[in-house]
Symmetry: D3
Subunit: 242 residues, 6 copies
C-alpha cells in the first residue's frame, strides 16, 4: 500500500525527516511518499500560516498523480484535515489526532509538548474538535520554534524533557505526545528521561492509516465530509510556487 505523508511547511528537510520516521515504523509492503507543499510558510506556528498550509496541503495532494491508499497530514494542531476528507475518498489521518488517540490506550491522561506557546490554543482547539480532549492533562510549550528544533536537537530534547517532566509531575500526565511533526525521532530519548510512554504522532499515524486501509474503512460521505458540490471555483487548483 502507498501512503502519502504531507508536511505542512515548505521546508524539505522536515519533510524528509518525517518521511524517514514514517518509513521506520511502516509495515512491510507499505510505501511512504513524503510531500512538501509548493507554497506556504517555512514553518507553521499560528493561524494564518496554518490556514495557508491547509490549502497548500490540499493543493499538493491533489497534484500527486499516482494512486495512493491513505494520506497523513503531518502538522500538529493545524487546520485543514476536514477539507482533505471532503476532497479524497481514501482515509485521512492527522498526526494530532493519531498521537492523542494512541496515547489514550496507554494511560489515564496524556499531555502534549509542543514548540511555541502561541500554538498551544490551536492544538487544544483541534483536539476539542476531534473529540479527543477529555483525557488531555495539558498542552505545554517548550518555547523553541519549529526550525530551532531542527537546528539544535540537543537543546530541543532538553527543553522538551523539562516540559514533559512538569506535565507528569504537575499535570498528572501518564503519557507524553510529541506535539510537532519536526519532533519525530526524539521519542526514545524523551521516554528514557521521563519514564512514561512517548507517542510520536507521525509513527502513530502510519499505523492508523495502514489499519484503516487494511480494514477497508474510509471517510463517511453522508454528511460532514461529503464531496464538494459541483460549482464554479476560481483560482483552484493553485499550484503556486511550483
Amino acid at each position: 500500500m502507498r501512503i502519502l505523508i504531507v508536511n505542512v511547511n515548505t521546508t524539505e528537510a522536515i519533510t524528509e525527516a518525517i518521511a524517514e520516521q514514517a518509513r521506520s515504523v511502516a509495515a512491510p509492503g507499505t510505501e511512504i511518499i513524503g510531500l512538501t507543499p509548493w507554497f506556504g510558510a517555512e514553518s507553521v506556528e499560528g493561524n494564518f500560516e496554518s490556514y495557508l498550509a491547509a490549502i497548500a496541503v490540499m493543493d499538493r495532494v491533489l497534484a500527486y498523480e499516482g494512486p495512493y491508499d491513505a494520506v497523513i497530514q503531518a502538522g500538529y494542531g493545524e487546520h485543514g484535515r476536514e477539507g482533505l476528507q471532503e476532497l479524497l475518498d481514501v482515509p485521512v489521518v492527522d498526526i494530532t489526532d493519531a498521537a492523542a488517540s494512541t496515547a489514550m490506550y496507554l494511560g489515564h491522561a496524556y499531555s502534549v509538548v509542543t514548540t511555541l506557546d502561541r500554538t498551544v490554543p490551536l492544538i487544544e482547539d483541534r483536539l476539542k474538535l476531534s473529540g479527543l480532549y477529555d483525557r488531555c492533562a495539558s498542552v505545554r510549550a517548550s518555547g523553541l520554534a519549529v526550525l530551532e528544533l531542527e537546528a539544535d536537537p540537543r537543546r530541543a530534547v532538553e527543553a522538551i524533557v523539562e516540559q514533559a517532566e512538569r506535565a507528569v509531575r504537575e499535570d498528572k500526565a501518564e503519557v507524553i505526545c510529541l506535539g510537532c511533526g519536526g519532533m519525530a525521532g526524539l521519542d526514545e530519548q524523551i521516554r528514557q528521561r521521563t519514564g512514561v510512554p512517548v507517542v510520536d504522532g507521525v509513527s502513530a499515524a502510519v499505523t492508523i492509516a495502514e489499519s484503516l486501509v487494511r480494514l477497508g474503512l474510509s471517510t463517511s460521505k453522508v454528511r460532514t465530509y461529503a464531496t464538494p458540490r459541483a460549482k464554479q471555483v476560481v483560482g483552484w487548483p493553485m499550484r503556486l510556487g511550483r
Copy 2:
C-alpha cells in the same frame, strides 16, 4: 469610521446584498466597504470551500489599500477568522459569533437556521470554538443552497420559517439566528411569522464592530492572535483571479 465587510464567496450579488444590509443599520458616519474575494467558490458550503475562502478573505483584505477601522467576515460558520485576527491590528468580527452573542441578550436559548445540512457541523464547531455554544438549542438546515436563497427568496422564507418554527416549538429556542450571509434582509418577515426575535448576523456584526472601534478595543496580541513571526512565505500574497 470605515468598516470592511468581506463576503466569503465570489458572487458579487451577495457581496452587494450584504453591504446593503450593513449600510442599513450602520451608524451615521460609518462607511461600509463591501469586498468580494478574488478567488474561491461561488458559494461556500463545506470545509474545502471554507478553507479556500479563509485564505481568499485574508488575501482580499490585505490587498485593500485604504485605511479602515474594522473588518467583518460575512460567512456563517466559516474558517479563517483567527487568521485575520493575527494579520490585522483592527478588530475582526465574524457574523456567526455576532449573531450568537447578540441572541444571548434576547433569550435563554437560540437556534440557527442555515442552508444545507452539510454545513450544520461546521457551524456547531465554530460556535464551540468561539465559546458561544452553551445556549445554542439547535442548528437547523432549510435544505436550500446559498445560491437558491438568492434565486428564490419567497421559497427561502418558507423553508427557513418552517425550521425556525420547529426550533421554537421542539428545541425550545427563544431567538432565531439567520445562519447565512445571504439571508440578510429576511429577518423582518421571519420575525413576523415566528413571533420571536430574529438576529441577522451581518447587522449584529456591524454594531459590534462599531462598538469595539468606539471603545478603542482591538485584538489582543499577547498570545493566540499575535502577529505572525517574520519568516519566508512562498506564494503569498496570492492575488489569484484578480
Copy 3:
C-alpha cells in the same frame, strides 16, 4: 435614545461614577439616566445583598416614570437580570455579560478581576448561566472591597494590576474584564500596565444596549422571560426607603 443604568447598591457616588462612565462612551443622541436603588446595601458583595439588590433594582426601574429604550444593570455577577427581562419590554443588559461577550471578540480567553474573594463564585455562576463561561480563564479577586475602590483608587489600581498580570501570565488570559461597576474608569491605566485589552463592563453594556435598540431587538417573550402572569402579589411595588 434613553438608557437607564441602574446601580445595584445604594451609594450615590458609585451611581454617578457609573453614569459618567456610560456617558463618556455613549453615542451622540443617547441619554444616560443613572438610577440608585431606594433600598438595599451600600455595597453588594455576596448573595444576600445581591438578592436584595435584584428586587431593589426592579423596584427602582419600575418606579421610573419617563419613557426609556433599554436598561443596564450595573453590578458585576449579581442576581436579578432575568427578573428585569420578564418585567420589561425593552432590552436589558447586565454588565457581567457585556464585558464577557465583548472580551470574546478580542482574545481566545479572558479573565475577570473583581473585588472580594467571596464574590468569585457568584461571578463564575452568573457567567455559566449566561453561557459565556467557556472562554473564561479565571476570575480573580483583588481583595479590596467595593467601597475601598472608591476610597483609594491608587491602591485599587495596584491590586487589580497585580491580579491582571497573574491572570495573563499564569491563567493565559488574553483580555481582562473589570469585574465591578465601581471599577469604571480604571481601564486605561490597567491596559497600559498589562499590555492586554481591558474591558469595562459599563462601557461595553452601553454599546450593546444601543445596538439592540438600533436593531429593533428586544427580549423574547415566548418562554423564559414571558411577562409574569396576572396574579395577587403582596407588598409590590415596594418603594422602601424612598
Copy 4:
C-alpha cells in the same frame, strides 16, 4: 429538633399541605414549623416572582423568633437558597436539590415533572448551579399552574403521569422527581402508574435536614456563604404585608 419549612408563595393552604407532608415523614422528635412569606406572589412561576420570594423567604425566616435547627426552602427551582445560607448558621436545604440528590441513589438518570413550561429553564439552571444536573434526563412541564394543582388534584395527577411516562419512555428517566412544592402527596399515585420510584422533594428535604443536624454539619463559612459583612442596609428587614 425543630425544622422550619418555608413556602415560597403566600398561599397558606400550600404551606399547610407542605408542612403536613413534612410531618408525615419526619422522625420522632422532629418538630416541623411551616412558614408562609408575609409578601410576594400567591404562586411562584417565573423569575420576578422567584426573586421576590427569595427575599420574602429570608425576611420571614429571620422574623421567626424561636430556636430552630435547620431550614427547608420549599419551592422548586427558585432563587434564594444561597442567601439563606449566608444569613443562617443552621443547615439550609432546597427541595430542588433534595429531590435530585435523592433520585441519584435510585437510578441512573432522573427526570423532573413540574408545572408550567416557563419554569423549566429555572429548574434546569438551579440544578446546574447545584451541580446535580449531570444525571438529569429531562425537566418536563405538565402545563398546569401551581394553583391549578391545588384546585383539581385529579387532573393534576393525570397531567403529571402523562409527562412522567414520557420521561421514562422517551428520555430514559429511571426516577421521577415531583417538581413543585404543591405536588407533595401525589407521589404514591404516580409511582403506581409509572412503575418507577417517585421522589417528593419536601419529604427528601426533611430527611436530609434531619441527617445534617444529626451529623453536626452545617454550612461552610469560609467563602461563598460567609456571613454578610457589617454594612449599612436600607429597608431591611422588610416585614412587608405583616
Copy 5:
C-alpha cells in the same frame, strides 16, 4: 431497621471501625451489621483490587442470611455499586457518593482527601459516573496507604490535614470529604484544624440509607439496575476463602 455495611477489604479491624462509626450516628432502632468480604485484598488501592472487591462484596452480601433493609458499600471510589443495585431490591449507598452529595449541601465546592495518589483517578471517575463531580474542587492524596492509617492515626491526621488545608487554600474547597472508609472517626480532629465542615462518608451513608428506607424508596428496576436475566452463571456464588 437493619443496615448492612460492607467493607471492601478483608481486614476485620477496618470493618469493625467502620461499623462502630456507623453505629455512632445511626438513629435509635437502626441495627448496623458489619460485613467483611471472604476474599480479596487486605486493602484496596487500585483497579485490580477494586474489581476483586466488587465481586467479593456482592458475594458476601448475598451470603448474608437474615433480612435487611439497606446496604452500604464502605469503600471510597471503588467499583461494584451498580452490580449490588442489580442484585438487590433494597437501597444501596456507596460512601463515595454519600460524602459528595452531603458535602454539596454545605458549601459551593468540596474536595476529597484520600490515601495514595494512584487511587485519585478512580475516585474522580466514580464521582463522574455518579454525576456528583461538578462541584468537586479536587481529589488530593495524603500519600499514606490504607493500612498505614490504621497503624499510625496521628501521622494520618497530620498528612490529611495538610492536604485538606491546601484544598481549602489553593483549590477553594469549602468542605472536605474523607476519602477512605478507614478514615472514619478522624473528622472531628480535621474539622478543628481546617475550620471547614468535614464529611465522613460512612456517617453520611448511614443517614442516607436510613432516609431512603423511611421514605420507602429503593432502586429503580426499569433499566440500568434491572435484576439480571435468568441465565447460566458458572462459579457463582463464589464463597471463596470462607
Copy 6:
C-alpha cells in the same frame, strides 16, 4: 507476535467467532489466541455479569502460560480493562474503545448499535470514562440479546440495520460501531444497507494492538495503572470452574 483475545462470557462459540474475526484481519505473522473465561455468565448484559466477567477475564489471562504481546478484551461496554492494565505489562485494548477511536477517523459523529437497552448506560459510561464520548451521537439497542444474535443472524441483521438507519437519519451519525463482540462479521452486510462505514470493534482492536506492539508502546506505569502493591490477597487466583 501473539495477541490474546479474551471473550467476556463463557460461551465457547462466541469466543471462536471472535477469534475467527480477529484472524481474518490480523497481519501476517500475528497469531491470535482466543480465550474463554473459566467462570461467569454465558452472556454479559448488565453490571453484575460484567463485574464478574472483569474478574474472570483477569483470572483467565493470568492463567495463560505462554508469552504474548498484547491482550484484547472482547466485550462491549464491560468493566475490567483498567484492572488488566495494572496486572499486565503488555498493551491492553478494549473493543469498545477500539471501535470508537477508529470511528472518529471516519466521520464527524458515530453511533453504537448494541443488544439490549439495559446495556446502553454501561456503554455510554465506559465511553465517557475512556474520553471517547464527545463525538458519540447515540447508543442504540436492537432489543436482541447476545445469544439471540448467535441463534438467528438474519433477524439480528434486520434489527441492527433498523437502529443503524435511525442513528444516521435521526441522530446524525456518520459511522456505525457494532456494539457487541458477538456482532463480529456482520459489518459488511450492514454497511451495504446503510451506506456508512461500519466499524467492528474486534477488527479495530486487532489493528490497534498490533500497532502498539510495533511501536514499542505499552501501558504507563507511573500512576493509574501501576502494578498492584504487594499485599495479602485471599482467593486469588481463582481458577473457578476450570
